[in-house]
Amino acid sequence: MKLRKLFTLLVFTAMLSGLLVGCKGKTEDQGSQTTGTTNETKTEENKKEPEENKVAEETNETGGTVRIMMNVTGGKDEDEMKLFQDALSEATGLTIEIEKPASDYNAVLMQKLNGGEQYDLIYINMGDYMNLIDQEALLDITDRVKASDILTGNVDEKEWADITVDGKIYAGFNKKEVHRVVALNKNMLENVGIDYKTIDPSLDGYYQVFKKLKEASTDPEFYPFNAIISETWDLQPWMAAQGLKGGVVIDSDGKKYVPFASDEAAPVWEWFKKLYDEELLDPASFVDKTKDMRAKMGAASQKNAVTVDWAAWVGLHNANALAGGVTPDTYEIVSLPGVKTPDGSYMLAKGGASLFAVPANAQNVDGAIKVLEYFATQEGGELLSVGIEGHDYTVENGKYVLTEIGEAHACDHGAPFPIYKDFKHPVGYNPGVDEAVSYGEYASIELPIPNEGDYKAICGKWGIQIIKGEISALDGLAKMREELVSMGVTDK
């Protein structure tokens, strides 16, 4: 009997939820009522905008439809994605259709492309870009890019050079890639009498800083320094000590090699080992994901004092602390460009591009270019960063004011740093970001390779063994090189 009851109950509730699900499409604002998020004005905006856009679409029919497959870019939820779609349609005079799989982006993209779906733009990262070019799945848009005043004029030449493969360009930009800087907890440094600006930019200089921090701390779980070694994420500012560049590099004979695996890298690996032996390096760095490292750097935890992270994250640490009621006089993250190279400069790693590529079977290439152009303008940049007017922000007397939703979305709708080279952030970056971004001149991208995962796994594995002292630095590096060659990552 009980079973029947339970069954009936389940069927009933399922039907009910089915009804709710069905109704939602008709009464647009029901969702916001039940979730109770939006304020009155926003709901009104919601209703108004689609109508305006219909007009816009009708008058601009010449542009046609552009289908875009997106991953992280765009609205944060269904409602906002619609607004984003409409805003983009209105701005470009096209009818924009956006599809966004929730997870497993690569697998889904592969199925869709192979299943005959036609998109005009697909969001991909640099690794995918190389692989898809390899499969002849992308359209060569070099001439169109060259012919476009906006794309050539608004985007730094260097950026185009980064994504040019054998003289050809197959994609436009989603955002400007920033670089990873050395992030430091200013207050902790001050507590041990160090002004971060006076830190000696050498391996030993940082070693002394870590030592002081460790000695001053009574927390056994506190480690001054953390880095994501398992994925070789955060080595570049330190490898600079030997002038070694991250990733795969091609030497004068055209052979691929990994500088971090060369014997010149040994002193830096040994420096890491020293930090580990003296408990200055967080042992969790062998397994931590970036997320864990950030949690420990954050105001709530403060188990680490120095990490390497994206420029944007310097600001986010500060913004999160402020949101949690922690003021800069107790917690403030600042940044430095790391260790000086032998010739007196610095070396930072810039992120591999995130791109919108044009698939070889695109139907509306003109439309796709138009969207790429829009993303490279001040207005497009605002849409991709601050978000949608009336939803994420309002303009009062020419000043941008973030709404509650806008605050939660942290000025990131795909591009915290838009690609437009003269972009003026209408709201302003989080505290500390400007300083971190100013080190951009030292940053360069790593050579894009198709088997990036293998590179990271191999360097991480042997690097960790060296740091743990399970193998000597030179032997470990020899093994690292050997495996890199055997996996086809390098030639020597």
Binding site: K2, L3, L6, T13, A14, S17, G18, V21, K24, G31, T34, T35, G36, T37, N71, V72, K76, D77, E78, M81, E99, K100, P101, A102, S103, D104, A107, V108, M110, Q111, K112, N114, G115, G116, N125, K175, V178, E221, K289, T290, K291, D292, A295, A300, S301, K303, W310, A311, A312, W313, G324, G351, S354, A408, H409, A410, D412, G414, P416, F417
Partner: protein, 290 residues
């Protein structure tokens, strides 16, 4: 029931009992503590939840994690979607599995061995092998971005058919045979003799498939690109597996992630608690005879 009937003195000796209790207690702790931790973190404040280490007790109780998943992540709609497609799909699945299970218990049914192998082979096919073509299939059948697609994909599993069949084998075959001689139709025998006494079996199939369908990710990820049809595990996975390699910024706080985990588990736990007594009887696998 039989527990009460059990012989009074027929139990473990004192020390054995103590030892057994201890082992069970250890197992209980090992299995319950991580979940308890997830619950505590889900009901902690943001600052408290981002601290490293394991939390066994609250130091700053807060429901803001739950607020976050409903307000910012907007889990309500995916929750309803999941609930709807899972319930409808699994009900259909129970019926069809019962049909197929019934077929497989027929004595001297021609091609029975072949049918059984046909069913069992489907349990061995790795998803990677069919990834591409399953998408094409769904596209041709116009099942993309539809509730229908979510319901139909994964509608039948070899496991539940075998489970149903095993349950049916415990029902006396002669009962059906005599009814057949009396001229009862197959459907009648199935509905009037087999189904009523197979409630535990049906409940078990229902539950097991509910769990697997509720948690399924790959197919919904493939089928659904409309955000209003996202299912709960998709949202959950997206929250947990945040893309850390890009310089983007959005990320969900730890307490919200844990809250989402608790929310996604709650319906399964509730059904389990209600159906527990039937499950016990229904899970008897016995032998897969052919």
């Amino acid at each position: 029931m039989w527990m009460k009937k059990k012989a009074l003195a027929n139990e473990l000796t004192g020390p054995q009992k103590f030892f057994a209790g201890l082992v069970l207690l250890i197992i209980f702790i090992i299995m319950a503590v991580p979940m308890w931790n997830a619950f505590v973190v889900s009901t902690s404040s943001l600052l408290s939840s981002t601290q490293s280490g394991i939390k066994i007790w609250w130091d700053d109780f807060s429901l803001e994690g739950y607020g976050y998943v409903f307000k910012v992540t907007k889990l309500f709609r995916p929750f309803l979607n999941s609930f709807f497609v899972t319930t409808v799909g699994v009900i259909i699945q129970v019926i069809l599995s019962a049909f197929a299970g019934y077929v497989l218990i027929q004595k001297d049914l021609p091609f029975k061995g072949a049918i059984t192998s046909f069913v069992m082979l489907t349990m061995m096919i790795p998803g990677d092998l069919t990834l591409i073509s399953v998408y094409q299939m769904n596209k041709q059948l116009h099942l993309l971005n539809s509730y229908m697609g979510l319901i139909i994909n994964g509608l039948i599993s070899g496991f539940s058919i075998l489970l149903m069949r095993n349950y049916f084998t415990s029902v006396s075959y002669s009962l059906a045979e005599s009814a057949r001689i009396d001229g009862a139709s197959e459907l009648r025998i199935f509905a009037n003799i087999y189904l009523p006494i197979s409630k535990p079996g049906l409940a078990t199939v229902f539950f097991m498939e509910y769990v697997s369908k509720w948690n399924s990710i790959m197919l919904p990820a493939t089928l659904i690109t409309d955000q209003d049809k996202y299912t709960l595990p998709l949202m959950l996975k997206a929250m947990i597996m945040q893309d850390t390699s890009t310089s983007g910024t959005a990320y969900a706080p730890q307490n919200a992630i844990m809250a989402a985990i608790i929310i996604s588990m709650a319906p399964l736990l509730l059904i389990y608690i209600f159906a527990q007594q039937y499950l016990l009887a229904g899970m008897s696998l016995g032998a897969i005879k052919e």
